[in-house]
């Protein structure tokens, strides 16, 4: 894989991970760009091509932590100085209301829950890779994922009640064809 393949293959999910961390689209673009800048400088260290993806996500996560530690608190989406770029606004209009709501709920979670859930739901990484990216033991990934999903479900339930939406149990959906037949 050459550099351009590596950009084409991973930049979208890197951006999504960055967006989830920073909760700001401009910062997400910058984090993605900076990740590739680090790769341009140090990518030769990655001898195993199958490790490139994890390396990029690890680097992005470290860059995010480094910026945060430097006191450059990345502004949250609801800060007044955050303007939504036109092209992003356009993509928002294409997004379904449900997706928008799910993303809002995901980005409202605590840092620890948000970062692990994003990595998991991107479906790009096995739990072992997530452990490597977040630099935590494998067992911690499983227990943290479990707790993060609990936190997510609570927020989803609260949002459903607030919106007056009834959550239909999955088994009732599965039974429908039988009931109709």
């Amino acid at each position: 894989m050459d550099f351009e393949d590596i950009i084409s293959r991973y930049y979208e999910d890197l951006y999504r991970f960055a967006f989830s961390l920073a909760r700001n689209r401009d910062e997400a673009s910058d984090l993605t760009q900076q990740t590739y800048a680090v790769y341009a400088e140090k990518g030769r260290q990655v001898r195993d091509a199958s490790k490139v993806k994890s390396w990029l996500f690890t680097t992005l996560y470290r860059e995010f932590l480094r910026l945060r530690e430097r006191g450059r608190r990345l502004v949250s989406m609801d800060d007044e100085n955050t303007e939504v770029p036109e092209q992003v606004a356009a993509s928002d209009t294409e997004r379904s209301a449900e997706h928008g709501e799910l993303l809002d709920i995901l980005t409202s979670l605590d840092d620890g829950h948000r970062e692990i859930l994003t990595l998991f739901y991107l479906q790009q990484h096995a739990y072992k890779d997530i452990a490597e990216i977040l630099e935590v033991p494998i067992g911690t990934v499983m227990s943290r994922l479990s707790r993060a999903k609990d936190a997510l479900r609570k927020k989803l339930d609260a949002a459903s009640q607030q919106n007056g939406i009834t959550v239909i149990p999955i088994d009732s959906i599965q039974k429908r064809p039988e009931q109709n037949g």
């Binding site: 550099f3 351009e4 950009i7 084409s8 930049y11 979208e12 951006y15 999504r16 967006f19 989830s20 689209r25 401009d26 997400a28 673009s29 910058d30 993605t32 760009q33 900076q34 590739y36 800048a37 341009a40 400088e41 990518g43 030769r44 770029p85 092209q87 992003v88 993509s91 294409e94 997004r95 379904s96 449900e98 997706h99 928008g100 799910l102 993303l103 995901l106 859930l117 994003t118 998991f120 739901y121 991107l122 479906q123 096995a126 739990y127 990934v141 499983m142 227990s143 994922l145 479990s146 999903k149 997510l152 479900r153 149990p169 999955i170 088994d171 599965q174």
Partner: protein
């Protein structure tokens, strides 16, 4: 294995089935097939996984991000494969020897920076572009981060981009060393795959800076330059094409 333990393990199972062959899930998956309550929980879990995955996919990067990354890749090449003598241990030894030599030389010879000429700057820039040797030290579109990075690397940082470039998307920056003089470089994406570089020079380091208020256009083969002086800074815009086309960025 009780259901609580099985749930914790299955929490890490991706809804698209990518983990199906991982033996760590085998026992918990088998239990989910036997136990209706666990099966129901697992089905909900996977349904939620699919919804969350779709929601994340709906967040699309800005349309110009890929172009910026590809452009930056062109000016920030991966280092070529290194020979044994270029490996870190040898480089470290060589660097140590150079530092020692430089330290001794510092006392023997008074170091001086040679003043630059405008032609020297443009021909160096032309060489760097021709040989694809411009590498960005920082890749960011944020002017504040660029300014900070340039300052940290001793490049001129207190400057304003010309009106024509002010609203163009920045790709990143670098500090060049020309005859021992630090020159700031900011890379701009100016529509599609086109790129222009803004060089910022301490005017006092140039022996022949352009007269204030009188921009000069220069053509060097397929490369074009526009240069002017404002206050203590001399600016050079470098791009491909006809020099006249650079007027729009001034």
């Amino acid at each position: 294995m009780d259901n609580d333990r099985a749930k914790m393990i299955l929490s890490a199972y991706r809804s698209d089935g990518a983990d199906a062959s991982d033996p760590i899930f085998a026992e918990a998956l088998a239990q989910a097939q036997r136990d209706p309550e666990l099966a129901r929980w697992f089905a909900e879990e996977r349904a939620l996984g699919e919804r969350m995955h779709a929601a994340l996919q709906s967040e699309r990067p800005p349309v110009d991000l890929k172009d910026s990354l590809l452009l930056a890749a062109k000016v920030s090449r991966m280092p070529a494969h290194r020979s044994w003598w270029a490996r870190p241990v040898w480089l470290a030894a060589a660097a140590a020897a150079i530092v020692l030599f430089a330290g001794l030389a510092f006392f023997a010879l008074k170091p001086d920076r040679a003043p630059m000429t405008l032609a020297g700057v443009t021909s160096e820039m032309a060489r760097l572009q021709r040989e694809d040797r411009i590498s960005l030290g920082a890749m960011t579109s944020d002017p504040v981060q660029i300014q900070r990075w340039l300052k940290e690397h001793d490049g001129p940082s207190d400057f304003a981009a010309p009106a024509g470039l002010a609203n163009q998307m920045r790709i990143g920056c670098q500090v060049l060393d020309i005859n021992g003089n630090k020159v700031s470089l900011v890379c701009f994406q100016v529509g599609g795959q086109q790129m222009v570089h803004l060089l910022v020079i301490d005017r006092r380091r140039l022996s022949d800076p352009p007269v204030v208020g009188k921009p000069i256009l220069l053509q060097e083969g397929e490369l074009a330059f526009a240069t002017w002086t404002e206050g203590d800074r001399t600016y050079v815009i470098a791009g491909r094409g006809r020099a006249e086309s650079l007027r729009q960025w001034l």
